[in-house]
């Protein structure tokens, strides 16, 4: 059994409305937390669109990577920002905003032109459907085996790099100990006071 034509059309309309609305909310929301959560909603809507395009693996990857990982990182970034920090007033704000608006309008015009001039032809081949992910797996473990294994090395490098960078941040946090802590294989201890005041919500 497959989804009917009408259900697909309604789903497409709902998803598009959801994505456009939440994308506008990302830009217009006053609180940066709302923006981050609405960004997650936009990514989720995009995963729904991938599902409608018969690409369930891409949809799963979208949910896992963008909603699960990227958005979580953004939220953590927001959580680490102290709101009490006084932001300095940027000089020449109007000029900067005008430039940004101009660049964004140009980009929008360019993309609209591309969308209107591209001949959108429907593919004549039947979509792979449920067999697509099996085909991906068979490629991944036969002729794309080396990139697959190299990807794990890349992830390993990213993990080690992230730990090294984050540890440097921690070291800068209590700069009294300085470089001598760097030689030991331990994260420096933070004072208990800052842990209890900052850690517990």
């Amino acid at each position: 059994m497959n989804l009917g034509e009408g259900v697909q059309l309604v789903s497409f309309g709902l998803l598009t409305a959801l994505m456009l609305g939440s994308a506008l909310g990302v830009v217009l929301a006053q609180s940066v937390v709302y923006s981050a959560f609405l960004l997650g909603l936009t990514f989720t809507g995009m995963a729904g669109l991938y599902l409608l395009l018969n690409a369930d693996f891409v949809a799963a990857a979208q949910i896992l990577v963008y909603v699960g990982a990227v958005n979580v990182l953004i939220l953590f970034g927001v959580m680490l920002v102290n709101k009490q920090m006084a932001f300095e007033k940027v000089p020449g704000l109007a000029l900067r905003q005008a430039t940004t608006g101009l660049v964004c309008a140009g980009l929008f015009g360019l993309l609209t032109t591309v969308a209107l001039t591209t001949p959108w032809m429907l593919s004549t081949t039947t979509p792979a459907g449920d067999g697509a992910i099996v085909a991906i797996a068979q490629h991944l473990f036969s002729d794309f085996l080396l990139p697959f294994e190299v990807a794990s090395v890349l992830l390993l490098m990213a993990l080690i790099g992230a730990i090294v960078l984050a540890r440097r941040d921690l070291l800068m946090d209590n700069s009294a100990t300085g470089l001598s802590d760097d030689l030991e294989l331990k994260l420096p201890e933070r004072p208990k006071a800052s842990l209890s005041s900052g850690g517990e919500p």
Partner: protein, 120 residues
């Protein structure tokens, strides 16, 4: 043309899921008490008194956990097709996936040894 099977159940569950918060909030709104005492305005009714603002800077240690989580989240994406097509792939793919996981376990051991997973 939609050719993925079984998604009408997914759609049904999606509709039920999106009804749950609406029903929960709307139901509690229907049966709530109308009294407007000062207790009603507190953040946690009959709970602890919150101290200070809600906008505090969270501990940077949370970020370490998030970074490690993101790496293993991306690893899941690579293992997902292997898990789905496990029956068709056979023993060789199993060994190859084990090699993939083993390389990432090195990273986990590194994070462990560096104390990135310890809280304090």
């Amino acid at each position: 043309m939609f050719s993925l099977s079984g998604y009408e159940y997914f759609l049904g569950f999606l509709i039920i899921c999106s009804l749950v918060p609406v029903l929960a909030l709307g139901g509690s709104r229907l049966v709530q008490s109308r009294g407007l005492g000062p207790e009603r305005r507190t953040t946690y009714e009959s709970g602890m008194e919150p101290i200070g603002g809600a906008w505090i800077q969270f501990n940077i240690r949370y970020y370490m956990f998030a970074l490690v989580f993101v790496i293993f989240d991306v690893e899941t994406v690579f293992l997902y097709p292997w898990a789905v097509a496990f029956n068709q792939l056979g023993l060789l793919a199993f060994i190859e996936a084990l090699v993939f996981i083993a390389i990432l376990v090195v990273g986990l051991v590194y994070a462990w040894r560096k104390g990135a997973l310890e809280w304090s």
